[in-house]
């Protein structure tokens, strides 16, 4: 069954916008909702100002007769406080699930974005995380904990209803200009935890959007790890970006380093990212390959290379009118492609 009326929550973040752009050509009717205005205008999408933290989603879904909900309003890292992350992830998802449940609900398929951060990172962890290796005793007050609570709600929902298929995509860490990890790696001198050189597994923005689109158009119930093939060492990644690693952060008492970075530098390193940058975490994506018959096009190494390539291209102007932004984005992509061909 192909989806006919799709609602995308959180369309205003860059990933949501990209997913919506790809979905417009594939589905008859597309709706988007978010608290903020979208950065780019998509012609065939109807935009609704709606906050998932309030219980409007249920009404929205029933009024618009939505059959597929793509829930992307899940924050993994934010410049807001941790309270906002908890509210958006746990309470927001709960509201979406409540809206999709009940006999009167027309929703038959739900796609939820989750993150690699759900596994956390620790010294004693196995080298690869497969989908069922979730560690339930992680510290409270962290994104990992919020994501765990969120996925617990989602799995309970999936068990309760048999009329709705639920797909959970655990997306790997992404590096771009607007993620914390991307900004961190782009520093000219990168402070790293002394004595650690973790393995990083990364996911390209295009692959993240493509995975969500494929999950929306197909029927693959269950949780899936989505990340690029292979690993890049942190020192390698910094070297690719043209920076220099400075092993100045003490390996223990990581909260102290986080505090120091926040006050001295511009980088706000969340706790799960601090753990990731000292121990590293790698996911096993074989279930994705088997079920979707697709694998991310960019390996971790290629993701890093494309970020480094993007650094040489000049930044886009701030988006004044949406169409202007579109044009700029298109031109930038063309320039990058030309650069890649000439290399």
């Amino acid at each position: 069954m192909t989806p006919s009326r799709v609602l995308v929550t959180g369309v205003s973040n860059p990933l949501g916008a990209e997913v919506a752009r790809r979905l417009t050509a594939q589905v008859p009717r597309l709706f988007g909702c978010d608290v903020a205005d979208p950065v780019s205008a998509i012609e065939d999408m109807d935009f609704v100002h709606a906050d998932t933290r309030l219980s409007v989603i249920g009404k929205l879904v029933r009024q618009l007769r939505i059959d597929t909900v793509v829930h992307l309003a899940v924050l993994v890292e934010s410049r807001h406080d941790e309270r906002a992350v908890h509210e958006t992830d746990v309470i927001g998802t709960m509201n979406v699930l409540v809206g999709c449940s009940g006999p009167s609900s027309p929703v038959r398929h739900l796609v939820v974005k989750s993150s690699q951060a759900i596994y956390g990172a620790g010294g004693g962890d196995p080298s690869f995380f497969s989908e069922e290796m979730i560690n339930w005793d992680r510290p409270v007050g962290d994104v990992t904990r919020d994501l765990l609570e969120m996925e617990q709600l989602v799995s309970e929902f999936a068990l309760r209803t048999n009329q709705c298929d639920v797909t959970v995509l655990r997306l790997g860490y992404r590096v771009s200009e607007d993620t914390c990890l991307g900004r961190y790696l782009s520093l000219p001198i990168v402070p790293v935890f002394a004595g650690f050189d973790p393995r990083l597994q990364l996911l390209h923005e295009d692959d993240a959007a493509e995975a969500i689109v494929r999950a929306t158009l197909g029927r693959h119930p269950g949780a899936f790890n989505v990340a690029g093939e292979g690993v890049v060492l942190l020192s390698q990644a910094i070297d690719i970006m043209g920076g220099r690693p400075a092993p100045v952060l003490p390996p223990y008492w990581r909260w102290l380093s986080r505090l120091g970075l926040r006050t001295l530098g511009r980088v706000d390193l969340p706790r799960h990212l601090a753990d990731f940058l000292s121990f590293g975490s790698v996911m096993d994506c074989s279930r994705l390959e088997q079920e979707f018959r697709w694998r991310p096009a960019y390996s971790s190494r290629q993701t890093m290379d494309s970020l480094a390539l993007g650094k040489t291209v000049e930044a886009i102007e701030p988006p004044s009118p949406p169409q202007e932004y579109e044009l700029q984005k298109f031109l930038q992509q063309r320039r990058r492609r030309a650069l890649r061909l000439s290399n």
Partner: protein, 343 residues
Amino acid sequence: MIEATPRERRRNSKKAEIVAPRQGFRLPRSVRRLQRQAPMYALQGLSSLSTRLRDITGREVIDMRRVMEVIQFIYQQRELARRGPNYAVDDYGFDPEWTESFLTVFKTIYRDYWRVETTGVENVPATGRALLVANHAGVLPWDGTMIKTAVFSEHPHPRHVRALVASQFMGMPVMSWFLRRTGQAVGHPDDTRRLLERDQLVLVFPEGTRGTGKSFKDRYRLRRFGRGGFVATAIRAGAPIIPISVVGSEEIYPMIGDLGPVARFFGLPYFPVTPFWPWLGPPGMIPLPSKWRIQFHEPIDLSDLAPKAAEDQHLVMSLADEVREVIQRGIYDNLKRRRGVFL
């Protein structure tokens, strides 16, 4: 970028740039030439000195082969520094080139310091998977490095052995970096299975830290072999088990005491007290030059067992006991063959 045809190569090629010589102070040309050729002159001088000393004394005073090994090591390190980020590690973070360059150092220790005598290395298969099981002794895991060196330098088909490490060491600052880089994995059943499925040689110490942390009076008495988990993993993967007896590792740090509270404070499994450590400080960490013997036993073939047999706890434990017996007997044999602790 891969250039397949000469045409592509021509298209991608650039004209060589003519770089102007750096301005500023430069040494005279003759001095620069001398600087460039000094290593070569030194080597020539050393080799003629070696020949002359051999003629005078009638034996090898300066072994040129050893000298060349040192030079090779230095050049390898320079080459490694030059490759920048352009190298690949596998999913476990294993860097074969880097490891091989450091094996030269371990080979020197293997040959000259502990004078290891290895027997039965032909029992290790040249291709395909196998689970190596060895006794664990000595406060630091030097026996693991020596087994790795033995297989890499004595085997007709050099192979890298991937050892399994207790998870607490993978969280330690410098330790985790070094262990990951040289190809070790976490002692987790999932890691073992994955490595064996990739047809690797996996080394496991079923005694774990109970073996390394035992006191000197208990030397060469094997501890409990875990719960036989290694046998179950080998049966599931269809890999033969190769027992290894190591003699000599018990005497490198004669442990006469264990400071439990100090160990707990640092998060270590034990804090050893030897005649030299911690009294002498860092020099107390130099291991004693005992005489080592490593014996690789006949492989125990498990391919006739179905993967389901791994659930038969009785069979698993009896096989684990069999492996333990073989190793214990091998230890007694080799102790008899050894003339003295330091001879």
